[in-house]
Amino acid sequence: MIEIIIYGRGGMGAVTAGKILAEAAILSNNYPEVSAFPSFGTERRGAPVMAFCRISDEPIWTRAQIQQADYVIVLDETVFGNHVIDRIKTGGALILNTWKCPEDVRNMYDFGDRKITIVTADLTQIAFDLKLLNRENQPIVNTSVLGVIAKSSIKITLDDAKNAIENKFGKSTKTDLNVKAANMAAEQALVEEVK
């Protein structure tokens, strides 16, 4: 079972990201069992939020919130901090939406000597470049992050991500843009080599 926590801000679509990730996992045929859920609370626009996702090839029976995850995805760097690093399992990975490279991130925050793979991608820039914006002109990053995941050791391909995005939003030019952003994110993602 792979456990994933997604951090974001209310309105960024962290919960939706979890749902699309779960869909993509099903579509991959590698993970027939999934569960995706928000951190149960009253969601307010702008406030930090968390979403959880479990994917597995065996039935998932635990209903508890994820304390430490194999993957922690951060959609907004401003919610990132040491408290987030604490939620990553040793041997796990951090996927961070930032313009910084993994090395900078490692230097800026206190990872100690924990064995954590850092992956970065500037999803916000990709969204601006593609004019992939929501109604409030905020960059949409909750779909492109799937491209980064496809580059990770999770057995979900870019095709699975594309299908999941299409399932969620239907076929449209906007959907195509989302898919394109995911592809770009996959290309541009920087994966730190773990020593």
Binding site: A36, W61, R63
Partner: protein, 419 residues
């Protein structure tokens, strides 16, 4: 083709309504049940339930919601509603009415703690608070089980041997808002499992002009025209209907497994690694599903432990439970609810059920996760280990206090005495 989709528990309930062809829905939103109402309105407005000419009555309160579906059920329609916590409490009077009128209303409860203090998070207090209104009551562990149990509930509730309303209870947020894969079945397969509704009361049946009159004299009156039924006898016949329900439920579970290839134990409880177990966990819903991983972990430590996850709470399957616990030495009951002034409701119901049994295991109850306090595997393991260590301690067995797991008294400024 049946399709597997990733949906929340609330949406699973809504999809089940669509599959069974519910004709009248009346519901009022309350967290965390609201998405059920929203999804069904969406189905109705999008014309996806046109085949059944489904009417969605957008009522102004829970009381009106349940009243509306009672009336529609008495008019010969298949009906559905859903609620949570305080909304459910607001329905209380009408819940008795539905059961007393023997109407096969099916209702989902997205379980949530009852205020005050306000909480929108899960515990099972709301569902257990309505245990004696006369509804049948089923608890589920997953979104697929929500969908499947709603299907089964219609079949059981509408069976002429039963004709009782039914609750399907699932944890708020933990299932209601969690997305999981759910297989949505084809309509023709659902029709094979669930026959068309044959209502016992249909107000439109003008030929026979039946009224439905709840006013009854306390005693049987012999009148020139014949006997007048009495209230007391109606209560008896309701109890008989609950007793009849067991065989109907077991039949439904078997048929369900045959047609859809999925099963939930015998439809009454689900045993997990219980065959050789000396220690058994007894729980419902989210607590039961969390316990499965706990059983696995403790088995790795060499403990002969298993789980009895209760699916059917009303009628209470006394006979089945006596069998299920006939080998165990120790039963650890985790209640996400409490009978204030007594102990966890499951714990005391089980104690009563096993009291006359030939083999009586030690039963140890714990309260867990009220108001959505997260229940971790460690919490449950701690409970099991405590129960084992104190198993032979007569003082603990005789004690009348109730054990709470996962309290944060000091952190939150309470004293041990609760002040």
């Amino acid at each position: 083709m049946p399709k597997k989709i990733v949906i929340t528990g609330n949406h699973a309930a809504a999809y089940a309504c669509k599959s069974v062809g519910v004709e009248v829905v009346a519901a009022y939103p309350i967290t965390p049940q609201s998405p059920v109402v929203e999804k069904i309105s969406e189905f109705v407005e999008a014309g996806e339930m046109k085949k059944f000419n489904t009417q969605f009555v957008c009522v102004e309160s829970e009381q009106s919601a349940i009243s509306g579906v009672i009336a529609a059920s008495a008019t010969g329609c298949r009906v559905f509603t859903a609620s949570s916590a305080n909304g459910l409490a607001y329905m209380f009077e009408l819940l008795c009415w539905a059961a007393g009128s023997r109407l096969p209303v099916v209702m989902c409860i997205a379980m949530r703690g009852l205020g005050a203090p306000w909480t929108v998070w899960t515990d099972h207090q709301d569902a257990f608070s309505v245990r004696d209104v006369g509804f049948m009551q089923q608890f589920v562990e997953s979104n697929q089980e929500i969908y499947d149990t709603v299907l089964m509930s219609y079949r059981i509730a509408e069976d002429p041997r039963v004709y009782l309303p039914s609750f399907v209870s699932y944890d708020g947020y933990i299932l209601s808002h969690t997305m999981m894969p759910v297989q949505i079945e084809d309509d023709d397969k659902v029709a094979e499992f669930l026959p068309a509704l044959k209502p016992h009361t249909d107000l439109t049946n003008m030929g026979t002009r039946p009224g439905l009159n709840p006013v009854t004299p306390p005693d049987l009156t012999i009148r020139p025209e014949g006997n007048t039924p009495g209230y007391y006898e109606f209560r008896y016949s309701m109890q008989k209907a609950h007793e009849n329900a067991f065989e109907v439920i077991e039949e439904a579970a078997k048929d369900f497994a045959r047609i859809f290839g999925r099963s939930y134990g015998n439809g009454i409880y689900k045993a997990y690694k219980a065959d050789d177990a000396e220690i058994l966990i007894f729980a419902v819903a989210s607590v039961a599903s969390e316990s499965r991983g706990v059983v696995d972990r403790l088995r790795e430590e060499g403990l002969k432990i298993g789980l009895i996850s209760l699916k059917l709470f009303r009628p209470f399957p006394v006979k089945h439970l006596r069998e299920a616990f006939s080998q165990a030495n120790l039963v650890v009951v985790f209640d996400r609810d409490i009978g204030y002034g007594h102990e966890g409701i499951l714990a005391y119901e089980l104690k009563a059920a096993l009291y006359p049994a030939e083999h009586r295991p030690i039963i140890r109850g714990f309260i867990v996760g009220l108001g959505g306090r997260d229940i971790t595997p460690e919490d449950l393991i701690g409970g099991v280990k405590k129960a084992i260590s104190e198993k032979d301690d007569r003082n603990v067995q005789m004690a009348t206090h109730t054990d709470f797991i996962g309290l944060k008294l000091e952190q939150l400024g309470f004293t041990k005495g609760g002040d």
